[in-house]
């Protein structure tokens, strides 16, 4: 569905991505993990066409015209400061920018769709409130609701659970799973390795601008791989279907 071929990105004097090749098919979810500064956000922004690539290409099967990219590929930022006091509903309705004409307002169906998405994320009661008055977790759910309302086939999520409590982390990832089961594609940056292993079909480990591993979680998320990727000894803990990874102390003498 969406594919990056030999993607190089330079930011200032630094090579952030060094020839990335990756793709995600329809009905597939991919988690990107890796240490800080590995290039995860840059890769996701390159896929969203927010960052231009210096070399290589990003293509989407469903989207023949790059100008229409935003209709097919929806990017959910982590969070950002909103300066003006748009209401939550106005904010979510901006999702329809690409589909509406220059002089037309949002249709009744689109407004209903926006309300429905807000309800799904449990923030329906805030529809008329200012986005600036929300907590960071509530705002992150509103950002997700905007993407849900758009109905774009490809979702790109930048740490979508970073500000959420446990219940809403699961709620959001269940939504991602539902989207993928309905034929959609999702690529998400995650720091919670347990959630990456549990909810995603494939996991890409990114280190210093290059792909370190790429495959189903059961195959690639080994203690050895992850300890090496994050440069800290990690232990895999499992309880039935649930897995988690615990970081051990960096100095082996303290263990």
């Amino acid at each position: 569905m969406i594919k990056a071929e030999n993607v190089h990105v330079r930011l200032g004097k630094r090579d952030v991505l060094l020839g990335i090749n990756c793709e995600a098919a329809a009905s597939e979810s991919v988690a990107i993990i890796g240490p800080n500064g590995a290039g995860k956000s840059t890769l996701l922004r390159a896929l969203a066409r927010i960052r231009e690539v210096d070399q290589g290409s990003v293509t989407c099967q469903a989207c023949p015209n790059p100008k229409e990219w935003a209709r097919f590929v929806s990017f959910v930022p982590q969070s950002h400061a909103v300066v003006f006091e748009y209401s939550v509903l106005e904010f979510v309705l901006m999702a329809f920018h690409m589909v509406n004409g220059r002089w037309s307002l949002e249709s009744k169906e689109q407004v209903a769709q926006a309300h429905k998405s807000l309800e799904r994320l449990g923030v329906g009661q805030y529809a008329k409130k200012a986005v600036t008055s929300l907590s960071s977790g509530e705002f992150q759910r509103v950002l997700m609701a905007r993407t849900l309302a758009m109905k774009a086939p490809v979702w790109l999520l930048d740490e979508p659970t970073s500000n959420l409590d446990l219940k809403h982390q699961i709620l959001l990832l269940e939504l991602v799973r539902e989207h993928v089961r309905a034929g959609g594609t999702a690529i998400a940056i995650l720091h919670d390795l347990g959630l990456a292993a549990r909810y995603f079909d494939r996991v890409i480990g990114l280190r210093a601008g290059a792909i370190y591993f790429d495959g189903p979680p059961a195959d690639v998320m080994t203690e050895a791989h992850l300890s090496d990727l994050f440069d800290i000894p990690l232990k895999r803990l499992s309880e039935g279907d649930l897995v988690s990874f615990a970081a051990c102390a960096v100095d082996p003498k303290i263990q």
Binding site: R45, A48, R49, I50, E68, W69, A70, R71, S74, F75, P77, H80, A81, V82, V83, F84, E85, Y86, S87, L89, E90, L93, M94, A95, H97, M98, N100, R102, W103, L105, E106, V111, A114, K128, K129, A130, T132, S133
Partner: protein, 336 residues
């Protein structure tokens, strides 16, 4: 705050109310002046109405509209509710460009002065943005943007003072008259009044056409790009068109400050920040605001047989409001 989605009826309701307010202001502007009389008598004596008051009221309305709408546009593009063509230094740049042209060619109010104002406005905006980006950590923060604007305005007035000092008395007088921020446009041919109005109307239409993109741009570059806006193209066009509106206004009326700050803030409090409603409302309310300020300017000192430049009135209203908005803005940033 409780706000629904923007609907046709809400849009029409607000625009009709603002149009009605503008009409009231225009009628008041026509009726009152040094010789106050019944509006119906005035229509009988068409010379005052047609040659003195009507052009002045038209000027006030279109200049108010241009300054208010460009204020709102700069605020969205720079994501800074305190941006205003006057405070940013764009008006100062336009005045500098116009003054230089006036000093070198002494071209009166022909097209050369508006063109030079436009060039001055764009050049100053480019300079201010480059300098504030170059400063460490500057990237368009409120402080840096406002301070570079202040510094640029001070520099522009120094150059203008220098021009005044080296020019002949007659030319210096001409320059002073040009810069005063006044709407006394007697002697400006109707042709030019109409050309100015047409240009500003066109600017307003173009800016309103970009209203949806401005909504997204006001969320930030990445957001706008992710939702399908061609950021560079949109930003370039709206900044050029907004600067053109400011520049032609400054070319004909001199420096009138704070309209671009006070009107968008007030309108935003009532209708919210959606630019599809905000921009046309700013044009209409900005027009009524300046017509009213001009009326105050004309009437307040009429007992002494003189009138104030309208810039004095807008500054008296705008300066305290600016401090209030700055405080509100900083308090909110602290809360984040």
């Amino acid at each position: 705050m409780q706000r629904h989605a923007l609907t046709r009826s809400r849009l029409a309701g607000y625009l009709l109310a603002a149009t009605a307010a503008l009409l009231v202001a225009v009628v008041a502007g026509l009726a009152w002046g040094s010789t106050t009389r019944n509006i119906w008598d005035l229509f009988g004596d068409s010379s005052i109405l047609l040659y003195a008051r009507l052009p002045r009221v038209i000027f006030a309305a279109v200049v108010g509209a241009a300054l208010a709408i460009s204020g709102a546009v700069f605020q969205a593009v720079l994501r800074n509710p305190l941006a205003d063509p006057f405070i940013l230094g764009v008006s100062g740049g336009a005045a500098l460009g116009g003054s230089l042209m006036l000093a070198t060619l002494g071209a009166g109010l022909s097209l050369a002065v508006p063109a030079a104002s436009f060039a001055g406005a764009l050049a100053s905006l480019a300079l201010i943005l480059t300098v504030s980006r170059w400063l460490p950590g500057g990237r368009l923060s409120t402080y840096v943007l406002l301070l570079t604007g202040v510094v640029f305005n001070a520099f522009a007035s120094a150059v203008i003072m220098f021009l005044k000092a080296i020019l002949s008395a007659q030319k210096a007088q001409e320059l002073l008259f040009y810069l005063m921020g006044t709407l006394s446009v007697e002697g400006t041919p109707m042709r030019e009044t109409l050309a100015l109005s047409g240009t500003i109307l066109l600017c307003c239409v173009v800016l309103v056409a970009f209203a949806r993109e401005l909504n997204l741009l006001s969320l930030g570059e990445d957001e706008a790009r992710a939702l399908g806006v061609n950021v560079e193209k949109t930003r370039r066009w709206v900044v050029i068109v907004a600067s053109l509106g400011v520049a032609v206004s400054v070319a004909y009326t001199g420096l009138i400050g704070f309209v671009g700050l006070v009107v968008p803030h007030g309108v935003r409090l009532i209708v919210g920040p959606d630019h599809r409603l905000l921009l046309p409302m700013c044009a209409l309310v900005g027009g009524s605001f300046l017509v009213t300020c001009d009326l105050i300017a004309r009437l307040s000192f009429s007992v002494l047989g003189t009138s104030l430049p309208v810039g004095v009135v807008t500054a008296c209203i705008g300066a305290p409001l600016f401090i209030y908005f700055l405080r509100r803005n900083l308090l909110r940033q602290e809360g984040e």
